[in-house]
C-alpha cells in the first residue's frame, strides 16, 4: 500500500481504476462531440489533439495535470457528476475554477459530488498505471494505491 498526501479541493471518498494522462484536458473539446451528444451517449474523450482520444472516463479516477479551454467545462462536469456519468474522482496538479465550479454546482444544486484533489507530487503520477485501483480520500486528503 502506497500513500500520497494531497490537498482537498472538494471532499468525499471514492475508489476506481486509474486513467492517467500527462496532457491537460479540455473537457469542452473532449465531450461536446457527436459520440457524447447522441442518445445513450458516452463520456469519451473525443478531442483528437489528446492522447486519451477514445477513452471513456466513466467510473475512473482521472489523473491529469489541469483542465484547459472553454468555460463550457462547467456544463460538461455538472452533467457528468450530477448524473453519475463521469469520473468517480479527479486528481490534478492544479485545480482551476472551471473544474471546481462543475463539481460545486452539482453538489449545491443536485446533491452528488466527487472528490477533487490537488497533488503536485510527481511520484504519484509516476507510480500509478492505467487500470490500477486508486482509493481517494478527499476528507483525509490522502490517495492510496493498492
Amino acid at each position: 500500500m502506497r500513500e500520497f498526501k494531497a490537498r482537498r479541493v472538494t471532499g468525499g471518498c471514492a475508489n476506481g481504476p486509474a486513467l492517467k494522462t500527462s496532457q491537460a484536458i479540455n473537457f469542452t473539446g473532449a465531450m461536446c462531440k457527436p459520440a457524447n451528444l447522441v442518445p445513450g451517449r458516452k463520456a469519451e474523450i473525443r478531442d483528437n489533439h489528446h492522447e486519451l482520444f477514445g477513452k471513456n472516463v466513466k467510473g475512473k479516477v482521472l489523473l491529469f495535470p489541469s483542465a484547459v479551454g472553454s468555460t463550457h467545462t462547467g456544463l460538461v462536469i455538472l452533467d457528468l457528476v450530477s448524473r453519475g456519468q463521469g469520473p468517480v474522482a479527479m486528481i490534478v496538479q492544479q485545480a482551476d475554477s472551471l473544474l471546481v465550479s462543475g463539481i460545486v454546482l452539482s453538489e449545491v444544486w443536485y446533491g452528488p459530488g466527487i472528490p477533487l484533489l490537488e497533488c503536485d507530487d510527481p511520484a504519484l503520477f509516476d507510480a500509478v498505471s492505467d487500470g490500477e485501483m486508486v482509493e481517494v480520500d478527499g476528507d483525509a486528503e490522502i490517495i492510496r494505491l493498492a
Binding site: V9, T10, A24, N26, T28, G29, C32, K33, P34, N36, L37, V38, R41, R46, N48, H49, P65, S66, A67, V68, G69, S70, T71, H72, T73, G74, L75, V76, I77, L78, D79, S82, R83, Q94, A95, D96, S97, L98, V100, S101, G102, V104, L105, S106, E107, V108, W109, Y110, L116
Partner: protein, 398 residues
C-alpha cells in the same frame, strides 16, 4: 434550509442572511455556490463586481443540468444585479442537425433575457456593451473574453464556468482569489520572438500548448486589437491561459521587472518563424478543404472591414463564411463593402462558427480551413492557415 458551515470565508451579515435562506432557497444556493468555490481556493471574502459576462448562450439539447437550473432561478424571479452580457447565438438555420441539436434555443434565449441579461450575443462583449476599465473586478465566463479583459484592459477576472457566472451576476459578487490578486498576475513564462511575419492566432495556439495555465510575458510586438483578441482566444483554447503580457504594450507590462515581480521567469522559450509556419497546413491540404470559416472570436467592425476589402470585385472559389459580432454587423450592413462581400459569393453571419459547424463536420466529414487558432483547436476536421493563406484559397488574393 440548513446553515452552511463557513470557516474560511468572512461573510457580511447580509451575505450570511442570504446564505441562510433569508431571501429564498434559490438565492441561498447561488450564495452557497460562491462560498463553496471560494473555499476551494482559500478566498477570504466575496468582493463586488462591476459586470458579468455569461458563456452559456447555446441550448445544447444533450445537456440537462445547466438548463434545469436556469429555469429554476427564472421561476424564482431572480434577476442579474450588475450589467451582464451574453455569448453568441449558435448554429446556422440551414443545417437540420443543428436545428435538432439546438432545439429550444429561442426559449433558452428568452429565459436569459428574463434574467435581465443584455442581448448583445457576442463573445467580444468588451467592444460595445460591456466595457470595463483598468482595475475593475469582474465575473466573466467565456475564455476569450476573460483573457482579453485581464491582459489588454487590465481588469481582473477569473475564468468562470457557466451557471457559476449567473450566480455571480445575480449576487453582484465574486470570491476573491486567483487573478483578482496582484501576486497571481505576474508573468511566469518568458516568451522571446524570432519572427518576421507575425501570425498572432498561431502564436496564441502555440503558447497555449506550451504555457498551459501559466501567464506568458511576450517580447514587445505592436499587435493590434484584433490580433490581441485572436491570439488570446487561441491561447485560452489550446491552453488554460487566463492572462498574457506583451512588453511595452499591455497595461501591466511597462517593463520586464514589473511583470516578473523581480523574480526570474520559471521558463524561457523562443518562438521562431518556423514554429508559426509549422501550424499552417500544406498548400495542397488547404486547397482540399470544403469551406473556409473566418471570425472566431467574432470579427470587430474594423476587422470585418479590412477582410472585406479583399473580396471587392472578386468571386470566391470556395464556400466562405465570415462571422462578425452582431453590433458590428449592423454597422457593416450599412456600408457598400457589405454588398461587395455578398456579391463575391461569401456569406456573413453573426453566429458562433464553432457551434454552427460542429455537427456539420462530424456528420458531413467536410474539412474546414480557418485562420482562427481557437476554431482550429475546437472544431473536428479543421486545417489552419494564416489569413493570407486562407484568402488565397478563397480565391480573392493571388
Amino acid at each position: 434550509m440548513t446553515s452552511v458551515e463557513v470557516d474560511l470565508m468572512e461573510l457580511t451579515s447580509e451575505q450570511r442572511n442570504i446564505l441562510d435562506g433569508g431571501q429564498g432557497a434559490e438565492l441561498a444556493d447561488c450564495m452557497k455556490t460562491l462560498v463553496r468555490m471560494g473555499e476551494a481556493f482559500g478566498a477570504p471574502r466575496l468582493v463586488p463586481i462591476k459586470s458579468a459576462h455569461l458563456t452559456g448562450s447555446f441550448k445544447i439539447t444533450s445537456f440537462k443540468g445547466y438548463y434545469e437550473l436556469l429555469q429554476r432561478i427564472v421561476d424564482a424571479g431572480l434577476k442579474v444585479s450588475v450589467p451582464t452580457t451574453l455569448n453568441p447565438h449558435p448554429g446556422y438555420e440551414y443545417a437540420p442537425q443543428n436545428r435538432l441539436l439546438f432545439r429550444g434555443q429561442k426559449k433558452h434565449e428568452s429565459l436569459l433575457e428574463t434574467l435581465g441579461v443584455t442581448p448583445n450575443y457576442s463573445c467580444v462583449c468588451y467592444e460595445y456593451h460591456n466595457k470595463p476599465d483598468f482595475g475593475d473586478i469582474l465575473a466573466w465566463a467565456e475564455s476569450s473574453a476573460v483573457i482579453y479583459a485581464n491582459s489588454v484592459i487590465g481588469a481582473r477576472t477569473n475564468r468562470h464556468a457557466l451557471f457559476a457566472d449567473i450566480c455571480q451576476a445575480i449576487l453582484g459578487l465574486t470570491p476573491e482569489f486567483g487573478y483578482l490578486l496582484d501576486e497571481n498576475r505576474r508573468g511566469r513564462v518568458r516568451v522571446k520572438l524570432d519572427v518576421e511575419n507575425m501570425d498572432a492566432p498561431a502564436l496564441g495556439f502555440l503558447l497555449g500548448r506550451k504555457c498551459m495555465d501559466r501567464t506568458p510575458l511576450i517580447d514587445h510586438y505592436p499587435f493590434d486589437v484584433a490580433e490581441l483578441k485572436n491570439m488570446g482566444g487561441a491561447m485560452a483554447a489550446s491552453g488554460g491561459v487566463t492572462m498574457f503580457h506583451v512588453l511595452g504594450l499591455t497595461p501591466e507590462a511597462p517593463d520586464e521587472e514589473t511583470v516578473l515581480g523581480g523574480k526570474e521567469a520559471e521558463e524561457s522559450i523562443t518562438i521562431t518563424q518556423r514554429d508559426l509556419d509549422e501550424l499552417r497546413a500544406d498548400h495542397g491540404v488547404q486547397k482540399s478543404t470544403a469551406m473556409v470559416a473566418i471570425g472566431c472570436p467574432q470579427m470587430t467592425l474594423k476587422e470585418v472591414t479590412e477582410v472585406a476589402g479583399y473580396f471587392v470585385g472578386k468571386r470566391v472559389k470556395k464556400k466562405t463564411m465570415l462571422h462578425a459580432m452582431p453590433a458590428a454587423l449592423r454597422e457593416f450592413e450599412k456600408t457598400d463593402l457589405f454588398d461587395e462581400v455578398l456579391k463575391s459569393g461569401a456569406e456573413i453571419y453573426e453566429h458562433c462558427p464553432l457551434s454552427g459547424l460542429s455537427l456539420r463536420i462530424g456528420i458531413g466529414q467536410q474539412r474546414v480551413l480557418t485562420p482562427s487558432g481557437k476554431l482550429h483547436y475546437y472544431l473536428e476536421g479543421t486545417e489552419y492557415g494564416d489569413l493570407n493563406d486562407v484568402l488565397q484559397v478563397c480565391g480573392v488574393v493571388d
